[in-house]
Amino acid sequence: MTLMTRVFTALSLAVLFATPLRAEIDITEVESPGGVNAWLVEEHSIPFVALELRFKGGASLDQAGKRGATNLMVALLEEGAAELDSRAFAEQAEALAASFDFDISDDAVSISARFLTENQDEALALLRDALTQPRFDQDAIDRVRAQIVSGIRSDQQDPDFLVGQAFDEMVFGDHPYGSPIEGTEESVTGLTRDDLVTAHAGALARDRVYVGAAGAISPEKLAQVLDKLLEGLPAEGLPQAADIDVETAAGVTVVPFDVPQSVAIFGHEGLARDDPDFFAAYVLNEILGGGGFDARLMEEVREKRGLTYGVYSYLVPKDHAALYLGRVSSANDRIAEAIQVIRDEWTKMAENGVTAEELESAKTYLTGAYPLRFDGNGRIANILVGMQMDDLPVDYVNTRNAKVEAITLEDIQRVAARLLQPDALRFVVVGQPEGLES
């Protein structure tokens, strides 16, 4: 390190703590007359609103034998509602220049809406119809189902998809987490309109909805529109899926597939979002395999040895299980070496933790980068919903950096020994890896 940069770093530390984050993110809690809660960041300089709705549960609510039902249901929300058929619905959204993205994950159905202030009442009325009165017309079901089946077939030829599928299946088996949310060609083909109506009532219920908004809308207006938006949805939906333990054994599982570059996922049990050690684990992961070029895995596997374009690790605190995972891809004749380097780094950090310098550097980055996340209305609405689903208090944005700062070297060493389990570190490899066998 040269003198120049050392000076910069010292300078930056002094300035960083002075960053006036509190003033920038002013969250208003809103409760509608009907009892729907929402968090809002009011921002009137650009005349539009980003609205994020999330229904807890998602694809893991699929019932036995109906895998893919929630996914197909969500894909059909924009394919006709109330008086409008699929085409008329799309034309109306275009005429308003509103966009509604309907998405699904293991644990949630997400709706990301964006609409102009000047026609927000019409846009929200259209969104309400999609949420509360989807038509599920048979021709739309057949058309969208064919697209999903086409996607499923392509996924089965995609090494990136196959590796995730194999890892999930190994860890979660018959639990909904153990199979792709799209379902199989067979399960999707067997779904009926009744299955979609059932999935809709089970997943989109008022007892599980979280709302975040950012942009040019007042709290009073938001409170007023929320009831209308969700009116007609059932009060209660399906019970949430069961929790499941994560158990893995050290070793390698090879899924043979004819590609020049092997793709691997590795990992074992992680920590829940509400675990008291989660913050320390988050900081630790930043040092081991976070986004930067200076993370240990990136440094050892890419920068020193040129074995990959990218290697990362990440905490995956799902609602019903917690994982600690990583990803790497290397040519078939080099993946074995990459895996050995990753194993060594895992063991090294489990035994020795991190250095004081690494910890300081990670803290400076994480605290400095945090305000950069609030980058636009859509991102802010997203963060607001995520905070509510994680059961965080409204002042979290102002206390979060202090929590990062409070992590000590001892915390990290303790959590390293707890979180990192070389004896459980499992690799699943898709490709034609040389020198690796299941």
């Binding site: 940069t5 960053t19 699929s86 064919a146 200076d294 990959t308 550097s361 950069l372 209305n377």
Partner: protein
């Protein structure tokens, strides 16, 4: 005539979102004495900034035989200078709470950092340093060459769709370097060496070949002062070559390619036509093509999906695509992903039939008005991301356009008539300029 069109313009404006501030209000431009262009985009909502330096040099500016060297050099710019050790650039950005990266395209190479606004000077100091002072040792080069080969494995070799694209592009351009992939042909990448990278660096990396874009919580005059301090002292390169690439001869025969790969589960047909790009002061034809792509295949309600996916159920997906942002001739594409039981030959005929019918019938005025309203609304939505605004100006200014061209573009789009869209279609859909590609699995069953 003049009054009439002004009136029509007024009507359009009245239908536009009210009270919308426009991007012009937020943009200030300068040029340093050494020729470096400066674009400042103000956005004071958050105390952050994005700092970008764009070079008017991409993969299409490479010499023959060293494909991939522009992108290789981009990686090597993180490997240190006389002042900074390898990796120290990114470490310093991180230590200041920022993120950084870079990207390479046909027409540009760009480096960027997102960071707290009060660190802008530090970013400029480091970026100016590596414009001229990189220091590379042979071992760094070899390791990083392995990295870009793994990058190619990941992006291309493992993905038959990406391999298919390379083959189509190579067939599309008979003479122009857009036919060579940005990441490089593998057999040339494995031989890239230090001299190749340095030759490219010395040829193209200089202030008079660069555009500085700063977007965020900054004052234009302060940005200018910082730019003068950090970039100003770098001398211009008097030997910067004029930017002229080998151009296309008249294309006189359609090319047809069939790419088979056992990893393809969903076959499709794609055809691209050589098409004009946006030129400075001359963007009308590109605007008509942009709207043509929207009308034909830009959304669920556009012509190709409406007929093939909705009315006839013969396609899983059908669409059209065009981007006018390019220094030299670009392409206009149509694609059809057939439903089960429809062959690729039939899918090609389907897509041609729909396009021919469209040219015969003309543009649906209601559809065109929806598209134009969405374009006007996008001028509001885009203000939400200073990062993507910064990218727009950087890409435009390195693709031969001026800031005025960027600002005039939305109005040009609004002024395009249905007749111009049809005329653009008739001109662009010339099979002599086209590459028709079939992508299929090894054992496609013809039904």
């Amino acid at each position: 005539m003049r009054r009439l069109s002004a009136l029509a313009g007024a009507c359009l404006l009245a239908a536009a979102p009210l009270h919308a501030q426009t991007i012009e209000d937020q943009v200030t431009t300068y040029q340093l004495d050494n020729g470096m262009d400066v674009v400042v985009i103000e956005d004071h909502r958050a105390p952050a900034v994005v700092h970008m330096v764009w070079y008017r040099a991409g993969s299409a500016d490479e010499q023959p035989g060293v494909s991939g060297v522009a992108h290789f050099l981009e990686h090597l710019l993180f490997k240190g200078t006389e002042k900074l050790a390898p990796g120290e650039f990114s470490e310093t950005v991180k230590a200041n709470g920022g993120t950084d990266n870079a990207f390479t395209s046909f027409d540009y190479t760009a480096y960027f950092q997102r960071i707290a606004a009060d660190r802008l000077g530090l970013m400029m100091e480091m970026e100016a340093d590596r414009m001229k002072n990189i220091q590379l040792d042979r071992e760094d080069i070899l390791t990083e060459r392995d990295v870009i080969i793994e990058e190619r494995n990941q992006r291309v070799e493992n993905d038959p769709g990406a391999l298919f694209r390379e083959q189509r592009m190579a067939a599309q351009y008979l003479n122009h370097p857009y036919g060579t992939p940005i990441i490089g042909w593998r057999h040339e990448m494995v031989n890239l060496d230090l001299e190749d990278a340095l030759a490219y660096y010395e040829r193209f990396y200089s202030p008079n070949n660069a555009v500085l874009v700063v977007a965020g919580d900054v004052q234009p005059d302060e940005v200018l002062a910082l730019a003068q301090e950090h970039y100003g002292p770098i001398p211009r390169n008097a030997e910067l070559p004029e930017r002229v690439r080998p151009s296309e001869p008249p294309q006189m025969a359609e090319r047809r390619i069939s790419f088979e790969d056992p990893r393809v589960a969903q076959p499709y047909v794609m055809r691209t036509y050589l098409a004009p790009e946006r030129d400075p002061g001359d963007q009308r034809k590109a605007a008509a093509l942009t709207l043509l792509a929207e009308v034909l295949g830009g959304s669920q309600t556009s012509v190709l999906p409406q007929v093939l996916q909705f009315d006839e159920n013969r396609s899983v997906y059908a669409g059209a695509f065009y981007s006018g942002l390019s220094l030299d001739d670009t392409t206009f594409g149509i694609v059809n992903v057939p439903a089960q039981g429809v062959t690729l030959e039939e899918a090609e005929a389907d897509m041609d039939r729909v396009v021919a019918d469209f040219i015969e019938t003309g543009v649906n005025p209601a559809q065109l008005e929806r598209i134009k309203f969405q374009l006007r609304a996008s001028q509001v939505y885009e203000l939400d991301s200073s990062n993507s605004l910064a990218r727009r100006y950087g890409a435009a200014l390195t693709s031969g356009l001026t800031v005025d061209d960027v600002h005039e573009w939305p109005e040009i789009l609004q002024s395009i008539t249905p007749e111009e869209i049809i005329a653009a279609a008739q001109e662009v859909f010339d099979r002599d300029n086209a590459v028709t590609g079939f992508l299929r699995g090894a054992e496609e069953v013809t039904q």
